[in-house]
């Protein structure tokens, strides 16, 4: 059970800290000039962070500290979604394809 005396310190602590993180470069960027290397690194941020969020959610099943392979259904459904995303560049079609394949495989299993 959540002890509600900790709610406000936690909510305000994470809230204010996260706002500062988000504000950091947006506020100071026009006052500092970033070196060329940093600009080249920025280009790879979305290509790196998003797969780092995607891979564990597709391939692994986590409950508490235990980690196991999620099984083939999600992998197959995800590959179908990658194909649709690549062909159509359409977000709705990508989500629909991935969910449909997952539900189909689970219904057949």
């Amino acid at each position: 059970m959540v002890d509600m005396t900790t709610y406000w310190p936690v909510a305000l602590g994470i809230g204010a800290g996260t706002l500062l993180i988000r504000y950091s470069f947006i506020l100071i960027m026009d006052k500092v000039t970033l070196p060329d290397l940093v600009h080249r690194m920025l280009r790879f941020i979305p290509a790196s962070v998003l797969p780092a969020l995607i891979f564990p959610a597709v391939f692994l099943h986590q409950s508490g500290d235990a980690v196991a392979w999620a099984g083939p259904e999600r992998t197959v459904a995800w590959l179908a979604a990658v194909l649709i995303a690549w062909k159509t560049r359409n977000i709705l079609a990508t989500i629909a394809a991935g969910m449909a394949v997952l539900w189909l495989l689970k219904a057949l299993a």
């Binding site: 059970m1 959540v2 504000y23 947006i26 026009d30 790879f44 797969p51 959610a57």
Partner: protein, 230 residues
């Protein structure tokens, strides 16, 4: 573009992503109440923090009676990725006033960031249009996430877990990342980051995510240098 159309373009481009965000908001609200928080607390957490992954982890840790310092620090480590988003989107928003930037920063999320940088990379928009576009995308996500958190908190777990709607979250990210993987260095960055994230999943405090991002960026930069010199 006139003022309204760039704002509406942001709303329009973000809207399909809501399919992945809605279950996430419902989960954030339902999980908080399931852990013993009153409905108002589970709901207000989304408005105060506005970063679902860190909220889920915070609720889980509070449920396990972790100390306030550990909960806050863990939440902030998970949200450290916004530092990278902030640096990456800053050049597109630099004409806003400092106070305006604070509001824009509050709206910075995985989805609003990714939608905006891909659009800004494709179309050469003037600065005021970029700010309106980002505002349209960011506000759309904010309204949807907070409404669905409240729904999840007050209606409880209305979505059966066997639907596995949480799978819509990585599918959303997949649709967002495919256009960014447009050359060999970017593909290498994606593969390296994904594999490191799998290997590092046992690391405490979600440090695996940061390790994976750093490895991906390094792999991309090295591959690009190789390409240029080779």
């Amino acid at each position: 573009m006139d003022k309204r159309s760039s704002f509406l373009q942001g709303v329009r481009d973000l809207s399909p992503i809501l399919l992945g965000v809605l279950p996430f908001g419902l989960i954030c609200g339902a999980v908080g109440v399931a852990a013993g928080m009153p409905e108002w607390a589970a709901t207000s957490l989304s408005a105060i923090v506005f970063a679902g992954a860190s909220q889920l982890v915070a609720v889980q840790l509070m449920d396990q009676n972790a100390s306030v310092a550990v909960v806050i620090l863990t939440g902030l480590i998970i949200n450290a990725r916004f530092l990278m988003y902030s640096a990456s989107i800053a050049p597109h928003l630099k004409d806003a006033s400092p106070l305006g930037k604070l509001g824009l920063a509050y709206l910075l999320t995985d989805q609003a960031y990714a939608t905006s940088v891909f659009r800004f990379g494709r179309d050469d928009l003037p600065m005021p249009d970029k700010i309106r576009y980002y505002l349209g995308a960011g506000l759309t996500l904010w309204v949807a996430f907070n409404l669905t958190t409240a729904l999840g908190a007050y209606l409880g777990a209305i979505i059966p877990p066997q639907w596995e709607l949480d799978f819509a979250i990585p599918l959303t990210f997949t649709a967002l990342v495919i256009p960014a993987v447009k050359d060999r260095p970017a593909a290498l960055a994606a593969a390296a980051a994904g594999c490191v994230a799998l290997l590092a999943v046992g690391l405490p405090y979600n440090l695996g995510l940061m390790a994976a991002a750093v490895c991906g960026i390094a792999a991309g930069c090295l591959a690009e240098r190789e390409q240029r010199h080779g």
